[in-house]
């Protein structure tokens, strides 16, 4: 036709940006700008009444390093992550393999496994609160049948965090199972048959064929599980409130208390930045370390 006019080329260049504009606006308003604001705020003191916020440098971070509850919450969070992530992923895989086979009542079983995911965490926590109640809770009633005494599952230092972790695994495993199930169904049954003719046992087929082909999904689940391990604290509010004596206090719960209970926003923003840094670092490590071994079809 003709040489494109400058106006047209400008319009052509503007088009993709215009298409991206709505999502950019939303992300900027609710994610990117707040992150930058938080980072800036973390170097400032908390405004109090007549005293406005002022630049304090790394003082908030120094406070954090000196705060024993921060360290307790960080360690609790790591224990919580290490205790729940492999267990829920392993359970999810086992359940997916089980309901992927030819068994009677398969649909019902799949639904049952998925139910915890559909329930709100608050409702889940309340159900488990009943399970854990000393003396007349479900666990103690069953323990009583075998002659054991009452246990204050949520009230003692030793059992409170594991009790919280059990609830998390129970809720997360069903959710991850759905991803594994979907991935298993994309693997052609021919592969298993070909391996069987070559003499591979079920275990070998899983180890050499199924598991490697599930790697992309495992990576996806792992990233989500790590994020959830630092993000899901709803049930802690209902079950323990972080106690006893910070035994179930984790980073986000600590952050909530500092920011909205003690109203120390300067310190809270510093905590937020640290939490964000930990999560970004972990996601990066996972992608780099696992990325090499993941086969995408």
């Amino acid at each position: 036709m003709s040489i494109p006019s400058p106006n047209r080329s400008l319009a052509a260049r503007a088009e993709p940006w215009l298409l991206l504009l709505p999502s950019i606006a939303l992300f900027a308003t609710f994610t990117h700008i707040p992150i930058v604001r938080t980072a800036i705020d973390s170097f400032h003191s908390t405004p109090k009444g007549a005293r406005p916020s002022r630049f304090v440098g790394l003082a908030n971070y120094e406070d954090m390093a000196a705060d024993p509850i921060f360290w307790k919450a960080l360690i609790n969070n790591l224990v919580y992550a290490i205790g729940t992530i492999p267990l829920s992923i392993g359970l999810a895989l086992a359940m997916a393999l089980f309901v992927n086979g030819r068994i009677a009542g398969r649909g019902l079983l799949r639904m049952a496994y998925f139910t915890p995911t559909v329930l709100p965490m608050i409702a889940v926590a309340n159900i488990w609160l009943f399970f854990y109640t000393p003396h007349y809770g479900l666990l103690d009633q069953i323990a009583g049948l075998f002659g054991f005494g009452a246990t204050n599952w949520l009230g003692s230092q030793a059992t409170a965090l594991p009790a919280i972790m059990v609830v998390t695994v129970w809720k997360e495993a069903g959710f991850f199972m759905i991803f594994y199930l979907a991935a298993l169904q994309t693997i052609s049954p021919d592969l298993k048959e070909a391996a069987a003719i070559e003499g591979a046992s079920d275990l070998t087929v899983f180890r050499r064929i199924t598991w490697p082909l599930l790697m992309p999904v495992t990576l996806f689940i792992l990233v989500n599980a790590v994020i959830n391990a630092f993000r899901m604290v709803d049930h802690i509010f209902i079950l323990t409130g972080g106690g006893p004596d910070n035994a179930t206090n984790v980073l986000l719960f600590h952050l909530y208390q500092v920011g909205f209970k003690f109203w120390d926003q300067g310190y809270a923003t510093a905590l937020t930045i640290v939490l964000l840094a930990i999560l970004s670092l972990m996601a990066l490590v996972q992608f780099v370390a696992a990325g090499r071994r993941v086969h995408y079809q």
Binding site: S188, A195, I197, G199
Partner: protein
């Protein structure tokens, strides 16, 4: 080269007796029996749903039969696991492991069976050279063309050095040119290695060009078994007559539904001047193929006839013409059952309901 079959040939016969498989009350395989001799390439041929793939999967041990026995190399294997049957198999989808390299795909079975690494490497080298994959061993299946993937599947089957190789529509995902090349290659490999092969296909050209023996199946039973020439020259039923050969055999009814059906192959027919009886037809289509031409004719409102003429045909669409053939080229089938009538009563014309005078048609005028 790969260990030759000299010794193994003696024992790698496959015998299937009264094999039955029922799916949801329907007999997918209805008590079939056949035998494949050592070193023979046997094609299971038939339309989709005829039970040929199920038969192959039963022999492989991927399905459990509801009746009958399977013997491989004089050993009953009916209920053995696939790995204990001394077979290899090529799947229609190739069933390559997408996350493994070509080399690892080919040697997967050797590794699983605990063959030492040095021997694995040696056998891989030989097999890769045999199928022309030497330069592709480090690639992943996803980086290869359909034809190359087919070779990987073939190599994986060969390297096992099992005496029996099963193939399930191995060429159906390739384009026509590659299919033609692979037909020749697979046949050459099979003969060179002395494999006993059962080859499933719905493509009668593959059956005709590759097979020592063709087993034509329909609705779970064997319609006809024999050499390609036997199936072509003496089809046992109208189904076999229609299925083998392109264009398929012309089947003509000159009488009522109970009268015999007359079959004549397209290349055995000639066109002549119309003579005013039931053998006149109207030219409906002309397909020029170069060396010859297929003329399609409408003989009755619901019966078409194809005639293969050398070179170009001197007829036009819509032209009225007569059909002619030698009595020696006639096939006769029972009008009701469709079975071949082995010795038709003398006077073939009468037997199919034609007036006797019309049987001798003058040699066709040059067209």
């Amino acid at each position: 080269m790969v260990r030759n079959a000299g010794g193994r040939g003696r024992v790698s016969r496959i015998e299937v007796q009264e094999l039955t498989k029922v799916y949801e009350g329907r007999k997918a395989v209805a008590g079939i029996s056949f035998r494949v001799e050592a070193g023979e390439l046997c094609v299971l041929l038939g339309p989709s749903g005829c039970g040929k793939s199920t038969t192959l999967r039963l022999i492989a041990g991927l399905e459990d039969p509801d009746g009958g026995t399977i013997r491989i190399a004089d050993r009953e294997v009916t209920h053995l696991a696939p790995k204990d049957r001394r077979i290899s198999m090529v799947f229609q989808s190739y069933a390559l492991f997408p996350h493994l390299s070509v080399a690892d795909n080919i040697t997967f079975g050797l590794e699983v069976r605990g063959v030492p690494k040095a021997e694995r490497r040696e056998r891989l080298g030989k097999v890769a050279a045999l199928v022309g994959l030497t330069d592709y061993l480090k690639r992943k299946p996803g980086q290869m063309s359909g034809g190359q993937r087919q070779r990987v599947a073939l190599a994986r089957a060969i390297i096992a050095e099992q005496p029996v190789c099963l193939m399930d529509e191995p060429l159906s995902n390739l384009d026509a040119k590659l299919r033609g090349e692979m037909r020749v290659e697979i046949r050459a490999l099979q003969q060179r290695l002395g494999l006993s092969m059962i080859y499933v296909t719905h493509d009668q050209i593959e059956a005709m060009t590759m097979a020592d023996k063709v087993i034509l199946m329909k609705d779970g039973h064997i319609e006809q078994a024999g050499t390609p020439a036997e199936l072509y020259e003496r089809p046992a039923t109208t189904f076999a007559a229609r299925f083998i050969g392109a264009p398929s055999m012309n089947l003509m009814r000159f009488g009522g539904p109970a009268d015999p059906i007359l079959g004549v192959r397209a290349e055995h027919m000639r066109l002549g001047p119309p003579i005013g009886d039931a053998r006149d037809a109207t030219v409906a289509s002309i397909e020029y193929l170069g060396a010859d031409t297929i003329v399609g004719l409408a003989r009755t409102p619901d019966e078409t006839v194809a005639v293969r003429l050398p070179g170009r045909a001197g007829v036009r669409v819509g032209e009225r013409t007569g059909l002619a053939w030698e009595p020696a080229h006639e096939h006769h089938f029972d009008g009701a059952s469709g079975r071949r009538i082995v010795s038709p009563p003398t006077g073939t014309a009468a037997s199919v309901g034609l007036p006797a005078s019309a049987a001798a048609i003058p040699e066709t005028t040059s067209l």
